[in-house]
Amino acid sequence: MQEQTHVVANAEPDGLESSARREFLTGGALLGGAWLAAALQATERSAAGSPVLASDFIYTTCLQCNTGCEIKVRIQDGLAVKIEGNPYAPRTMDPHIDWRTPVTQAARLAGYLCPKGQAGIQTAYDPYRITRVLKRAGKRGENKWVTIPFDQAITEIVEGGVLFPQDGGKTVTGLRELYALRDPGLCRDMAADVALLQSNKLTVAQFKEKYKDHLDKLIDPEHPDFGPKNNQFVFLWGRLKAGRQDFFLRFVRDSFGSVNAHGHTTVCQGSIYFAGKSMSDQPSGGKWTGGAKAYWMADTTNAEFIIYWGANVLDGNYGPPLKTPKITRGLASGRLKIAVVDPRHSRIAAKAWKWVPVKPGEDAALAMAMIRWIIENERYDRRYLENCNRAAAASDGEPTWTNAAWLVEIRPDGSGGAFLRAGEIGLGGDADTFVCLRGGVPVAFKSDDAANPAEGDLFVDTTINSIRVKSAMQLLYEEASRYTLWEWAEIAGVRVADIVELAGEFTSHGKRAVVEIHRGVSQHTNGFYNVLATLGALNLLVGNFDWKGGLVYGGGAYGESGGAGRPFQLSSHPARLTPFGIDIIRGGASYEQSTIFAGYPAKRPWYPLASDVYQEVIPSAGDAYPYPIKALFLYMGSPVYALPAGHSLIPILTDTDKIPLFVCSDIVVGETSRYADYIFPDLSFLERWEFHRTHPSIVHRVSPVRQPAIASPNEVVRVFGEEMPISMEAVFLAIAERLGLPGFGPGGFGAGDLRRPEDYYLRMVANIAFGDSSTGSDVCPDASDEEVAIFLEARRHLPPSVFNAERWAAVVGPQWWRKVIYVLNRGGRWWPYEHAWTGEQVRAKYGKLVNLYHEKPATTRNSMTGEYMKGIATYVPVSDALGRPLEHKGAVLSLITNRNILATKSRTISNYWLTHIAPENVIYMNPRDAAQLGLRDGDWVTVLSASNPEGAWDLGHGARKPLRGRVRLTGRIRLGVISFDLGWGHWSYGAEDLVVDGTVIPADPRRATGIHANAAMYVDPYLRSPLSDVVGGSAVFYDSRVYLVRG
């Protein structure tokens, strides 16, 4: 680390403001006399509750929100008593200490951590934790339970039968019957033939004839594209990260053979991810593929101007601990200037130069206006935008390039279609050879060509060989000039001066200006195009990708699951199935190519550009579209609570015909697990493994490890001869053992066993220890004898069912064991601080084409309207699934939500240290709106809407929770908009009485306070499920309007 300076608040060119250096301590500083003296007294102090010993801590990873901060957990008398930030990690110390600093020196150091992270102890030590398997005793959702032995639950789920006599003697199909297709070879053949079927190279009749002996394995032989019965087993998850995800998908996909493993992406920011996927797709064989769920963010450490657009970075958005110090230091030094676009004056707005309270859902109008101003005033980075391929970009020192100058074919109706291919105008090449115009002359090029630079004119509108073409930039400008600035300002509800000031400032900092977005942009029915206009077009206009202080893709994580040179290949599987068929949400699937195409609109939307459409899983099961499901497993998710209009799921969840078997993994009886048939207790985040990896705004490569820090309260069970507390892993292992699924148990890896969670996760830790060099040149050091002793001593409180040093060592072998300890003693592995940047750019570059124009949507039909989607950033008004304006029925107040740093959606109401600070949430309201309604600060109101005129959650069986809360009047919200903090208003999770084995477990009234107004959000009139962005997949939180009724 660098020499300390004595200057306090001057900005330094590298962005590491000097005051940060002063606050930061070097490893060497800890070798002073005071440290030695303190160490000598350490044992005595530790016994009395003051920690200074390295063995008083276990370093793991927070999961109080999805930031996944690295933490150190202080253990006293076997209990977690305090959680602090991990000083080794860039999320929680800025700058962080070198990874090789001895743990004895790091013991006294605490990184910073947000209040939720510190309250995580109370998520683990929750009096309402369940510790044994619960089976429902009454009807679904009656909230009456009996505890049953783990083995009995596994038997019932696997074998099925009349499991719930109270349901009128219905027989439940067990997993054994759903595990219909078991032969990997047959599965592979059928998958290949279904692909042929979808491309019209095979008929259904031919398929049936070919597989006439196996038709019983299909959901419906008339529709082979539904796939095998295995697909009727659906696994749905809320929060799941690498490691655990790999383990679970190994079960669901590789071993059980179901395509139906779905995440929750769209409840968070799906349309960002799927717009990002489209932005990152690359041309290959005439198609656009390979895109990642990309979400670029600012290099906050070095940016000079950031527009936080619908991004409440000081409360959520991937990391108050990560981003805040970079922001506050940047503001204090004068390096950074911030603008906030948000209907609500959020916490970050309190630190901003400018707050622009845009109308909810009209974000693209503001963005298109800025685009128009930037283009007409020629404030864009022409040099960057003209580069059409890798070679041209490289000659300008640009890591990325875009397709602004590429030529797009124009359809007769004027809309953009596919890119012009060189072959179409006689310039040769293949399906990936595109065309730009330079000085009026067409130039053929390939995107990834590193040898032959192609630069094109930005504004082209011409005809070549009778083909009408325009450049992508021209199409963008035409979209932006649909309205004047004054008209755009009217639509967006902002002032023209705001547009000009924002656009002017944004284009005054070179590549150190960024538009950073989050849910406020994406969770609208027009979310996909809002993202293309903000994150996409605006950032591309200044060409800030991969630049220091610009837009970054993130440093990534060390590859934990295997790869070249790494000691363990976690994907090894002795008999992997190839899951096939349309999935239950029709993700990535083509409606027109399916065997159930029946014109427009489709019965439910198809999502050719998206996956993990959380709000679509349960309603699709409800409509049995495209097919009925038999079993739903839900892991660490609460869609009823978390989704907008989540109440619309309840009638489906309570219907045992639509979802015949519903199994949840949860740590409590929550708002959704209360509808389960069986609840398996899971481990809290402090008791288990996971690999949280990284986020795009972390410019360093980071691999935090989540590992057991405390013992689990759960019942210990025996699976594959091994004792372990009940967990989701234990459930999958037990089902695999019962069904004889390949890929688990003895020989699960082929050469190695997979009998218990550590068999999987310790191998991943070894891969992290190996590093990223396939030659092994950055393999981590061995832990010293002292570090080994610290490792063992720190785990003295863990029972053998969780920690067994000899067994752990045997999993990875003597060559890796001490390296694994080295990683676990620090809770992960990270790049050194300075390593993140090189010259004027970040080291971890995206380094590829970033699409301004999107051929795939432009040539794909919307399954609801039958029209082609737009291929460029554009303004689309808010609408229902069919593209019709929403029916507000006279309601005028827009309902939005906001994060509060003191809560994470469904899962922190148990944290009394947080609810002590904020015992309830409120409805934020502008005083002028309140005056119209005659409301005063603190008044109680009920929230009603066109799709919830009752103003209540209907929980089934006569139970209701009114949408009732208190208003707080504040000028910090746009006129005509109300908002509430997500996280309160619970009716389960300890907020209601439970009956277990005939005994009432009384509720805690502190958990039922406040309001959760999601049930006032619109149910789509056509879909009868939550309003959605049918292009990008987002669940829609911010486009509903409500009435408030006093009382």
Binding site: L25, G33, G49, Y112, P127, K351, A352, G971
Partner: protein
């Protein structure tokens, strides 16, 4: 700051502890409030650290400012004047030390009432989980306050009716660690150190700054002082807007 602390402890000389809060870097997240409670267990009827938020509107302009509050460790503490001698002691390092075994009941109430910033509360000895189906063990943990060991175990606690307040994390300072609120501050708003050390950061940042302390003016000589770092590119409002 950690280096400053190490130097001070190594020197063997009596420090003069000082806490400085840069209110403009504070984002009002309450990380410090929770860190404080985890470090020095308190119950549901009080907190020894809190963060207040003030909002202002002027036409379309909006402001919000945040200010953390804890015991000011006054050099002339009003709380000490209302209780018998010896119950509240001003230590040479500046920390105002309570005798928790004596400062109880009416004395505790008197001390709390005398505090101009309401930084003292009367501990009722309760825990957060005692009214739930299961009292949790972590709330029973032993901890050190002013050199003595305590617990909040409902069965055995001696903290009922005792006055509680910030200790500057004296137990951590002795072990070479900065106060919990300082290390956990995600905005970097907290500074702490030995004001006697002219080369310390805390000394440096208080030189030539506009220090704001209403309590300084009241003659309390507080050891917690506030200043506003200039944020040239942010819209902000001065402390004097409230404390004119």
């Amino acid at each position: 700051m950690q280096q400053d602390l190490d130097q001070t402890l190594a020197s063997g000389q009596t420090p003069s502890w000082l806490m400085v809060v840069d209110t403009r870097k504070c984002i009002g997240c309450d990380a410090c409030t929770v860190a404080c409670r985890a470090e020095i267990p308190t119950g549901p009827n009080g907190s020894i650290r809190r963060v207040i938020q003030k909002e202002m509107s002027l036409g379309s302009r909006q402001w919000a400012i945040f200010k953390p509050i804890n015991c000011l460790q006054c050099d002339d503490p009003p709380c000490a004047k209302v209780v018998p001698l010896g119950m509240i002691r001003k230590r040479p390092d500046g920390i105002v030390e309570f005798n928790l075994d004596a400062l109880k009941g009416p004395y505790a109430m008197a001390a709390a009432a005398a505090c101009p910033v309401k930084a003292i509360h009367l501990d009722d000895g309760r825990t957060f989980t005692e009214t739930t189906p299961a009292q949790q063990d972590y709330e029973r943990r032993r901890f050190i306050e002013y050199g003595k060991s305590y617990t909040r175990d409902p069965e055995t606690t001696t903290l009922k009716d005792t006055a509680r307040k910030c200790t500057f994390c004296a137990h951590r300072l002795e072990a070479g660690m900065l106060p919990a609120c300082v290390t956990t501050c995600i905005g970097g708003a907290m500074y702490f150190g030995n004001a006697n050390n002219p080369s310390s950061l805390i000394h440096e940042i208080t030189q030539g700054r506009r220090i704001f302390s209403r309590h300084q003016n009241l003659g309390l000589k507080p050891r917690v002082i506030y200043f506003e770092e200039s944020m040239p590119e942010a819209v902000h409002i001065d402390c004097v807007a409230c404390h004119s």
